[in-house]
């Protein structure tokens, strides 16, 4: 009690600094002694500690997945190459690769590990990021490149199709019904749909497929697919995958219905048709459902083409 009487209570911000280890040794001792003798400051100290921990744990949620999983890309090595002519850049890159790999690799690192790390290091030379490196299956390592583009507006070419679809589908869609009406969409077994898609069909990985519906392309290309998937909690999402001109009107219908649409993912441009009729198109993929857009975007990161 003598202590607390000798000195005013410790201000809250000083308790933060005390907990943060930002006080001088002398200040620390002074506060520690006060805390020993003062019940009020001890309880205040406990509250400060709780707020500190709570705020730190909240911030810990807002961390990119790559960092959460401890995947750190190699440092930039373009500039040193330009500046330090004499240095064996290859060796430096290999070393960096090794460091990165040791951070990446779980204990089960196989012989493909070094190779994988190298891919990672080299890709970063040019500012490319492998978004995901699946170390359990080394052969699945690949690079994804970000593009900044606005969502492609609906193509005029397919507006007729859009009108046809939308006339029957302007009403708000009940939660338990497939978001696009079924008449123009042919149901197909998943395996058959994959065949129609030439062995490749977008879906959320790790979630069972309930059914697939297929819609012919308005431009005579790859059809549009609607893969219905059931999440573990029973909610449904639909993965829409189709050529750019075909998917845009579908998205318009979905937007009008009030259902939530994820950000749009697109494939590399690919050829549609053959010979003189061949033209380049791009497959667009969205995840749709009665969920928050954050949840849907999280599912986009789990999309797989198979």
């Amino acid at each position: 009690m003598a202590n607390s009487a000798a000195r005013p209570h410790v201000p809250e911000e000083e308790l933060h600094a005390y907990c943060d280890g930002e006080l001088s040794p002398a200040q620390r001792v002074e506060i520690a002694e006060h805390l020993l003798g003062c019940l009020i400051c001890r309880s205040q100290h406990a509250m400060v500690e709780a707020v500190r921990l709570r705020s730190a744990s909240l911030l810990a949620i807002a961390v990119p997945a790559q960092i959460r999983r401890g995947k750190v890309p190699a440092p930039p090595v373009v500039a040193p190459r330009r500046r330090w002519f004499g240095i064996a850049v290859g060796t430096a890159a290999a070393l960096i690769g090794a460091v990165v790999w040791s951070q990446l690799a779980p204990s089960s690192a196989g012989p493909s590990g070094a190779q994988l790390a190298n891919t990672l290091g080299v890709s970063n030379l040019f500012g490319l990021r492998p978004t995901t490196v699946d170390s359990a299956a080394g052969n699945r390592s690949r690079q994804l490149e970000m593009m900044t583009r606005t969502i492609v507006p609906p193509q005029m070419k397919s507006l007729a199709d859009f009108a046809r679809v939308s006339s029957a589908q302007t009403a708000v869609i009940p939660a338990e019904v497939d978001p696009v009406f079924t008449s123009d969409w042919t149901p197909a077994a998943y395996e058959d749909a994959i065949k129609v898609g030439n062995g490749s069909l977008a879906r959320v990985d790790g979630v069972p497929v309930a059914n697939v519906r297929i819609h012919p392309s308005a431009i005579g290309g790859r059809p549009t697919f609607m893969v219905r998937q059931q999440l573990p909690d029973g909610r449904t999402v639909w993965v829409f995958e189709g050529l750019e001109p075909d998917i845009a009107p579908v998205n318009q219908v979905l937007l009008a219905s009030g259902i939530t649409i994820s950000m749009v993912t697109r494939t590399h441009p690919e050829y549609v048709g053959a010979g003189v009729d061949a033209r380049i198109s791009t497959r667009m993929v969205t995840v749709v459902g009665y969920l928050s857009v954050d949840s849907l975007n999280a599912l986009v990161s789990r999309l797989t083409l198979r």
Partner: protein, 175 residues
């Protein structure tokens, strides 16, 4: 002493990405900007590399926020192969839960004043009070006060959202 970019990178890369991520809310963009920060560090060889890196990161993030008025959408350019190999241990429900939790943290952070938020993020990035003071032009004595306020507001903002959500659930259940 030679400028140790590798050391700087190893010790601060994660923090810089986290710091940038909480400003731009896009993991890939945050990594791109972090690369940019370290490229600039290589060119400048700053005297106080740690503070310097976060000062530059803050500037870049500010420029980014201004240019975001263009309202771009990020689109992923995929290969013909699977787009992303999801982490095998990562459960779908977990991924979604995380996205929702993160959105709440983001909203809570947005309720702080820019200064409070900066101080909080810089502290979380590993900067000391003097380093934070230098960067934010706050008096050293004001850092603790600001940080204390920022932490409390973040927790309060988040708790009030949780409470609202609980209230909404009850309302929905009743109707």
């Amino acid at each position: 002493m030679a400028f140790d970019i590798d050391g700087l990178y190893r010790t601060t890369y994660d923090s810089v990405v986290r710091f940038l991520y909480r400003k731009v809310w896009d993991a890939d963009r945050a990594e791109d900007l972090a690369q940019e920060v370290f490229m600039r560090a290589l060119a400048h060889e700053p005297e106080k590399p740690r503070s310097w890196v976060f000062a530059v990161a803050a500037n870049i993030a500010r420029d980014e926020a201004r240019s975001a008025i263009r309202k771009r959408k990020h689109l992923v350019l995929m290969t013909h192969e699977p787009m992303v190999a999801p982490s095998p241990n990562d459960d779908v429900a977990e991924t979604m839960d995380h996205a929702e939790q993160e959105a709440e943290v983001k909203r809570a952070l947005e309720m702080l004043s820019p200064r409070d938020r900066d101080v909080l993020l810089l502290w979380d990035a590993g900067l000391s009070y003097p380093e934070i003071a230098e960067q934010t032009h706050l008096a050293l004595g004001a850092v603790g006060t600001t940080l204390a306020r920022a932490r409390k507001r973040l927790v309060e903002a988040h708790d009030s959202m949780e409470a609202d959500r609980g209230e909404q659930r009850r309302t929905t259940a009743r109707s």
